[in-house]
Symmetry: C2
Subunit: 304 residues, 2 copies
């Protein structure tokens, strides 16, 4: 059985929130995903960085046991993202995006990665997501993310991806854009009829809803007194979600619901600090403790 494979971005982020600002810190969808998943399972990372990418970040990712064979290092600069959040921390305002070496990123899957147990296709061009799917043996679970940019510009290619994925993980704005109307339950019904078996809709501070053909599962976000920086919360969620599923290999409804909670737990840690700083300092016991707190947060007695 192979590892959990992730394809996405590794970036240097400059972020300002009402609680502080950081410059050129470690970021990127694949970075958050892989780091979160590394608490549960072995992760192989496919991404590209420029020659300016600091070695300390590579050392950190390796220290988490993440396999970087597929991390291409290329002439040019690393992907930069600059964003700002207002007091309503739910939405980032992008100030600057410099794709740099990420602009011509063509994921090449090294031979030893071609039979992953599970695959996460981060938010990249759907054509590239399709290309990755062609390069690998069908994993037992494929999940993907996308964004409004692709929903608007590459809708057809995106649907070809969705026909081949098991889990689509997107936020509520993206779900409404994909479905073309505001009611998420209707969007879910229509999306599930056309492709993925599971639709996970992330709603930021309001938590997550999981839809599949048979059931709906809703989990709140973990209430926090201190949210420093929401950057990477969604990718961290996906990393915790798939990391747990890859670790157990169990795809039952009960297991998938627990995976949603583990994803939520990991995301709740990420937002407590800038960049991946809280994830760096994390202990697996803290993850389990917060999972149990999550249970207490949501539990109520059924009718007798």
């Amino acid at each position: 059985m192979g590892n959990l494979l992730v394809v996405g971005s590794v970036a240097l982020d400059t972020v300002k929130t009402p609680f502080g600002e950081v410059s050129e810190v470690l970021g990127g969808s694949a970075t958050y995903f892989a780091t979160a998943a590394s608490y549960f399972t072995s992760v192989d990372l496919i991404a590209v960085v420029g020659e300016d990418f600091p070695d300390q970040h590579l050392r950190f990712l390796k220290s988490r046991g993440i396999d970087l064979t597929g991390l291409e290092r290329r002439a040019g600069e690393t992907f930069r993202w600059k964003g700002e959040y207002s007091h309503q921390l739910n939405e980032a305002h992008t100030l600057d995006t410099r794709l740099n070496v990420f602009e011509t990123f063509r994921p090449k899957i090294p031979d030893q990665y071609r039979s992953p147990s599970m695959l996460f296709l981060g938010n990249i061009d759907p054509e590239l997501q399709l290309d990755v799917l062609r390069q690998v043996r069908r994993p037992i679970l494929v999940a993907c993310d996308t964004m409004n940019f692709w929903i608007e510009r590459k809708r057809e290619a995106l649907w070809r991806v969705l026909e081949q994925v098991d889990v689509l993980i997107i936020n509520d704005g993206e779900a409404r854009a994909l479905g073309g109307h505001p009611n998420l339950t209707q969007v879910a019904r229509e999306t599930l009829a056309r492709g993925p078996k599971h639709l996970v809709i992330k709603r930021g501070e309001y938590g997550v809803v999981l839809f599949n053909q048979k059931q709906t599962f809703a989990a709140p976000a973990f209430p926090l007194e201190q949210v420093q920086d929401p950057t990477g919360a969604g990718d961290t969620f996906a990393g915790g979600f798939m990391g747990y599923l890859a670790a157990t290999g169990n795809l039952s409804e009960a297991s998938i619901r627990q995976a949603v909670v583990f994803g939520s737990v990991m995301a709740s840690f990420t937002v407590e600090a800038f960049s991946l700083d809280r994830l760096r300092a994390l202990d697996y016991k803290e993850i389990e403790a917060r999972f149990r707190e999550f249970k207490r947060l949501t539990h109520f007695e059924d009718l007798s």
Copy 2:
């Protein structure tokens, strides 16, 4: 032991949503509250209507077993509210408010109502809420609602109310206005230190969070394919919540959590139709069935 007593508004609403419009239909905070609560317990209603208020509405409220001795009928016109919702159904845009007889409403509690088991102070001037509190023997539970208008203009009187209530039930915008900052967990900690034992924050389509000194409980909104009209959802929630507590007399944490779910269940019915139309057609078995669905919606296995 007395009944559940509610003080608030009875109104005629004109409402437009993307799914239809209705004119001069039954509305008002006390109406939604009392009707929802009537599925669980006996309710006494204190409000005022004008001489134009249709008898059919009185007959409906009586048919629900609601005691209308305290419903004053006065010369003049009934409170009118006119509002509109866009596709983002979470927020109403008020087009017109005519307080009419409600403007000079001074709640007078009939003698036989002066020892209620529980009391709900709907969204009225905090000075009037204080006046109601002076007229009754201390019930085993007092809950209240308020709105930004009073938070801004009558903050001091409102805090005097809050020092005497057990449960404050408000929406997230009101909680932020009351606490003066965006983080609801911080707002909750500070609010609970000054008055109410429980703070229930309603978040519309995102559900409800209950904070008290010891615990936090989060419940999602019940996912619906068809939301016709969100008017009255918050008051219906409060009615289901207090109706259940009044019926059982049990104020344990477990019971209060179940009350939050019953409130959410009742609100989920209200929004399925305009005015109180869905509540009119409701059967207690449907309420229990949806409670059980709610359990399935939120349940996950704890770590072993």
